[in-house]
């Protein structure tokens, strides 16, 4: 059996351990529709059309509507679709883990992340199929927390505010900040500029940044979480702003998820996060390419 086929066993084992983790913490596993009338419009995420509807780019809209209906702790493992994304760490159809908790903020999610990584590392190490067992030892440690502002000050030639203003934020993140992040223990990059956090709540004592964070492990961007914005008026403004930017970039504006906007006022203060399961499997199997952890790549179909 080649490494790609043995990775399928690891993948199944990891997905089982994710389920065990959330069930043990009292989360309800949900399944929400994947073909929906509207996603949250984003500047740089292209949904696939499916007839009159869209394939979801993330289950966030439906999952937050469940929070509005009174569910407190929910998780979902599902396929998501994003057009035009293909590379060493990207496929257009991929597996996402999302979880949400009410009466919580992004700091609670950070703790969830640390506990989840330790749980998954434990499951991989006891499964006995890992050639290099010590590789995931760092996942049992507390994640190192660095603010985005601090990371730009330390690793990039430009400060965060200037980078956002002159449009070099993404490029510096990829070329200067990410390669310099500490390896070993997981890293939490937190407090993103408000301009790049369309669905996140602003930080009360520093409204220039939003309560958004990204989880990195082994240098790989693994998850993106935030304290959810639950102000429907502000949320509509941000969606409309995203659509204006899309127009400027030459992309078609997208319809707004109206039922979500109607119900949002009923959402308690909440936090939610999306984690790329394929990438988690890549890290656990030391795979260089996302292709190595998939049953089939899009090109093989």
């Amino acid at each position: 059996m080649d490494s790609r086929d043995s990775n399928l066993y690891q993948r199944a084992n990891i997905i089982r351990s994710i389920r065990d983790f959330f069930v043990s913490k009292g989360f309800l596993e949900v399944e929400t529709p994947q073909r929906i009338p509207a996603n949250a419009p984003e500047e740089h995420i292209e949904p696939f059309r499916s007839g009159e509807r869209f394939m979801h780019t993330s289950p966030e809209i439906c999952m937050k509507r469940l929070l509005c209906r009174g569910h407190g702790k929910i998780f979902q493992i599902c396929r998501c679709w994003r057009s035009d994304e293909r590379g060493r760490r990207h496929v257009p159809e991929f597996t996402m883990l999302e979880w949400y908790r009410t009466h919580s903020d992004y700091r609670d999610l950070m703790v969830d992340c640390e506990e989840l990584l330790a749980w998954v590392a434990e499951a991989c190490q006891t499964a006995g199929k890992m050639p290099d067992k010590n590789r995931l030892d760092g996942w049992f440690e507390k994640a190192q927390r660095i603010t985005v502002r601090e990371a730009f000050a330390r690793f990039a030639a430009t400060d965060m505010e200037t980078a956002v203003r002159n449009g070099s934020f993404d490029e510096l993140m990829v070329t200067a900040v990410e390669p310099a992040l500490p390896q070993g223990a997981p890293v939490i990059l937190m407090d993103y500029p408000a301009a790049v956090a369309a669905l996140a709540r602003l930080k009360p004592d520093d409204p220039a940044v939003a309560e958004r964070f990204e989880l990195y492990a082994g240098g790989l961007e693994l998850a993106n979480g935030f304290s959810e914005l639950n102000d429907p008026v502000e949320q509509r403004l941000r969606f409309e702003a995203a659509n204006r930017t899309r127009l400027e970039l030459g992309s078609a504006p997208l319809p707004l998820p109206e039922p979500f906007l109607r119900e949002l006022a009923a959402m308690p203060p909440s936090a939610g996060i999306a984690l790329g399961v394929d990438r988690l499997v890549m890290l656990c199997t030391a795979a260089e390419r996302i292709d190595d952890v998939l049953a089939f790549t899009p090109e093989e179909l």
Binding site: H44, E85, V174, E214
Partner: protein, 187 residues
């Protein structure tokens, strides 16, 4: 015209008037951010390595490259002249662009010349060429020093190690990929 979606290892594009070969390529997309296409490429004329990051919507000119069989005619200063036997068209290549090829060029040798537009930017030789030894010391009979090779100069001026039994005036075959002695040509 290429778009960022065409970028991959091995793609040849024109940039600032020079042909470049893409030698490494990575698609990245920081969380919620824009797609970035990070490329590393090598200038096919002077070998310089360049790192460039592109965004969606950017386009590239393909490098118009053509390989043609030509015959080596002569050298003048640092210029090497080749001729297409079919069209009698001549091209001149600078010594810098020749690389090691100049060690093996004898008049009338047929080679593949790489053309970028009108400009000759590289030459591919046959894997093996025969050259005559013009200078090498005779093998001292009974030499017990243990040396199993000695230096020899061939007619192009190139110096390489050959087995001790090779004598001046002999024709030898050289592997142009390694620059090493291959066999003695009998007769």
């Amino acid at each position: 015209m290429y778009t960022v979606a065409d970028l991959k290892k091995g793609l040849k594009i024109t940039l600032d008037g020079d042909p470049y070969l893409v030698i490494a390529f990575d698609f990245t997309k920081p969380g919620k951010g824009q797609a970035l296409y990070r490329t590393k490429m090598r200038n096919m004329i002077n070998g310089t390595i360049l790192d460039r990051t592109y965004r969606s919507g950017e386009t590239f000119e393909p490098a118009s490259l053509e390989e043609r069989q030509m015959e080596y005619l002569y050298k003048e200063g640092t210029h090497y002249t080749f001729m297409d036997q079919q069209t009698y068209e001549q091209v001149v290549m600078e010594e810098d662009a020749m690389g090691d090829a100049k060690n093996y060029l004898l008049e009338n040798l047929k080679v593949d010349v790489l053309l970028f537009g009108e400009k000759a930017i590289g030459v591919t030789l046959p894997n093996f060429v025969n050259l005559r030894v013009v200078q090498t010391d005779p093998w001292a009979k009974g030499d017990t020093s243990g040396n199993d090779s000695k230096p020899a100069t061939v007619e192009t001026g190139y110096v390489l190690r050959v087995p001790p039994f090779i004598e001046e005036g002999e024709l030898i075959t050289i592997d142009t990929r390694t620059g090493e002695y291959s066999t003695r040509v009998k007769g």
